[in-house]
């Protein structure tokens, strides 16, 4: 069974540009999560999508946005890139869970390393 895949592996952008990161979940999983893993800060929750809807988001500015497609794959967009956006961006998927009872474990992809110069 194929795991969670992410593309690209590495992405280099300059300040002010936009970055688009992509994620394909495990077959049968309808929930997709995005996290930022910056050095020394652990994992910071960014966004949660389920059945094409944004279900929750972390404490990030609106320039971090995304969407989930009908095939449950997802895209994370970061606009107006800043130097501090440089980090590993992880995508995870899980089986569906009703809001308020989503206790299914997440399966993580290898990540996209974003470098902002």
């Amino acid at each position: 069974e194929a795991g969670v895949t992410q593309s690209p592996t590495h992405l280099i952008k300059t300040r002010g540009q936009q970055a688009t990161l992509r994620c394909s979940p495990i077959s049968g999983h309808t929930s997709v999560y995005w996290y930022q893993q910056a050095l020394g800060l652990g994992l910071q929750f960014l966004l949660w999508y389920d059945e094409g809807e944004e279900r929750n988001r972390g404490n990030f500015p609106p320039r971090f946005s995304g969407r989930q497609f009908p095939n449950y794959s997802s895209e994370l967009n970061v606009n107006a890139l800043e130097l501090e956006d440089s980090a590993l961006y992880l995508c995870a998927s899980s089986l569906a869970g009703t809001s308020g009872s989503s206790y299914n474990e997440q399966f993580f992809g290898p990540g996209t390393r974003l470098t902002v110069l």
Binding site: G3, V4, G42, L43, R55, S102, E105, P110
Partner: protein, 112 residues
């Protein structure tokens, strides 16, 4: 404010000795608690979770964790450490409003 604390950045344990990686949390309501592990050059992997029921939960690779509601802790344990257990361990909590919080991680070094 909701939070997860992993008070130790690094834990060193001799191979064969028991290990404990600590995690405490602060959330409203009943939490869902998770442990994940990140091996070098590999993605994060799920180890175990506590949802309800027995306070002692068993997971992958011989790991277990004990949920202690009064101390709001969910420490990860293993009776006998292996060198291959050396990795970065993350505790995570999900509250009833689906806020997901990860700890900053604890690097576990198992010394041969």
């Amino acid at each position: 404010a909701q939070s997860v604390a992993q008070p130790e950045d690094q834990v060193n344990v001799a191979e064969g000795n028991p290990l404990t990686v600590k995690c405490t949390y602060s959330v409203s309501g009943n939490p869902y608690l998770f442990w994940y592990v990140q091996y070098p050059n590999r993605g994060l992997q799920f180890l175990l979770k506590y949802i309800t029921g027995d306070n002692l939960v068993k997971g992958s690779y011989g790991f277990e964790a004990e949920f202690n509601k009064s101390q709001t802790s969910f420490h990860l344990k293993k009776p006998s450490a292996l060198v291959s257990d050396s990795a970065l361990y993350f505790c995570a909590v999900r509250d009833m409003r689906d806020k997901i919080i990860f700890g900053k991680g604890t690097r576990l070094h198992i010394l041969p």
